[in-house]
């Protein structure tokens, strides 16, 4: 990297030095809906991971709507992800810019290249391969709103996928839509039988003749019509484990929504999601945005900052980095 990400944490430095091809972990932050705090969560989580000694690069993958740089108080960089996608820059390392925080780099997606929102498959593969080869501990992808293939593919390519929701029906609705879209795309990619692909395609349209509305109903259809693929579908479903983060919590009942989402996913979708943590609504967050400063750095003792710190510790425990190598 040509950016001052500083040295690795003492405990990881010898390991990194010994590796010929060090490989970081990719974490992504999606959520389906806009305006629920994904970018602020990504920025503050990245900041906290760095405080814990990890070398992190944040990638603003909200192509066409990027503003992660603003959350971090960084001026729109000259070189962005769009430059790498368009091959104006060959190396992804060359579009990593430093931030005010040690060990935290940024690949901005500043909206100078709107066509980047429609990147082609090969471009996407190139981006994913290159960010995976970055010489850092964790690459944090800030995904845009919606369930476009690009967003879903980045989410599925991650080692750990966080699904941000806020305790409002619109967000929950989009969260479930995101989960189903991601799972069906995963199944579509794994499908070897044409009939299985047809069933999965049907599930994408609840008004199709099969009337599949949930992954469990899809499973039943596979068992009925394409039993040879049943084990494959079960395996893919078992491997799909989104982790919920409930943001803008205003009370205990809101925080409990995360547990209920996990239960509802298991019982009614057949998906084993997990509850990673919650972050309270906190005035310090929007005050930080106004000042174009990261709230976790501007007000490190605020409630939301403490909860993001807890979230970072929880995720690190769930994803021991040593296992990645």
């Amino acid at each position: 990297l040509n950016v001052p990400l500083a040295a690795a944490a003492p405990e990881t430095a010898p390991v990194l030095a010994a590796l010929t091809h060090p490989r970081g972990r990719i974490w992504s932050i999606g959520g389906g809906k806009g305006g629920i705090g994904k970018s602020l969560l990504a920025a503050s989580l990245g900041h906290e991971l760095c405080r814990l000694g990890k070398r992190v690069v944040l990638v603003d993958a909200d192509l066409g709507g990027a503003n992660l740089h603003t959350c971090l108080g960084v001026a729109p960089p000259d070189l962005t992800l769009g430059d790498f996608i368009c091959r104006r820059v060959e190396r992804i390392e060359d579009v990593v810019v430093p931030t005010a925080y040690p060990r935290l780099g940024l690949v901005s997606g500043a909206s100078d290249f709107l066509a980047a929102a429609n990147i082609k498959h090969l471009q996407k593969v190139r981006v994913l391969n290159r960010i995976r080869s970055l010489n850092v501990d964790i690459v944090l992808l800030d995904l845009g709103a919606g369930t476009s293939f690009n967003i879903i593919d980045f989410f599925l390519a991650s080692d750990l996928g966080l699904l941000t929701v806020i305790p409002e029906p619109t967000s929950i609705e989009n969260g479930y839509r995101f989960i189903k879209s991601a799972l069906y795309r995963k199944l579509r990619a794994a499908a070897q039988h044409e009939l299985l692909r047809e069933i999965v395609d049907g599930a994408l349209d609840p008004k199709s003749p099969r009337g599949i509305r949930t992954p469990l109903e899809l499973l039943a259809a596979v068992q009925r019509e394409c039993p040879d693929s049943l084990d494959l579908v079960k395996r893919e479903m078992a491997a799909f484990r989104p982790r919920f983060v409930v943001n803008q919590v205003r009370g205990g009942q809101d925080a409990a929504v995360g547990h209920q989402l996990v239960t509802a996913c298991a019982r009614h979708l057949g998906i084993r999601a997990e509850y990673a943590g919650f972050v309270h609504y906190d005035d310090a967050v929007w005050q930080g945005v106004r000042q174009r400063r990261l709230f976790a750095a501007a007000s490190p003792t605020c409630r939301a900052a403490g909860e993001v710190a807890q979230l970072a510790r929880t995720l690190l425990q769930a994803e021991p980095l040593a296992l990645a190598w």
Binding site: P167, E168, P169, I172, E173, Y176, R213, T214, L216, E217, L219, A220, A256, V257, H259, Q260, L261, T263, A264, A266, R267, H268, L269, G270, R272
Partner: protein, 116 residues
């Protein structure tokens, strides 16, 4: 759905104590309450009501030592529970002259985790 035990309905292990059963019952009621966020768009009104009835039925049996003992015995011997002990599923009310209510949605109850 018929293969589910009342313990599955509440999401507890068969050895669960009364306090665990009560805790699970309250959680299930919250999950399937009207206005529940977590089931929004997953379940319709009729499905919610049906699940609330099943949860209530499970709780009524499992909190009562005598009823629970009889139920456990039925589970052990493989005999079906008494007909009146299983409430019928209530489908969503169809609007007058409208299409029939949709078929019940598949519901998977995961095995209870230890300590649940």
């Amino acid at each position: 759905m018929s293969s589910q035990t009342l313990y599955d309905v509440l999401g507890v292990v068969p050895s669960a104590g009364l306090s665990q059963i009560e805790k699970a019952y309250r959680r299930a009621l919250d999950l399937y309450s009207e206005g529940s966020l977590a089931t929004y768009t997953l379940l319709d009104q009729g499905e919610q009501e049906s699940l609330r009835q099943r949860v209530q039925h499970a709780y009524d049996v499992l909190r009562d030592p005598a009823k629970r003992s009889r139920y456990d015995e039925e589970l052990r011997t493989g005999r079906s529970p008494a007909p009146e002990s299983a409430p019928a599923r209530t489908p969503a009310p169809a609007p007058a002259g409208g299409p029939p209510a949709p078929a019940p949605r598949a519901v998977y109850m995961p095995p209870a985790r230890p300590g649940a």
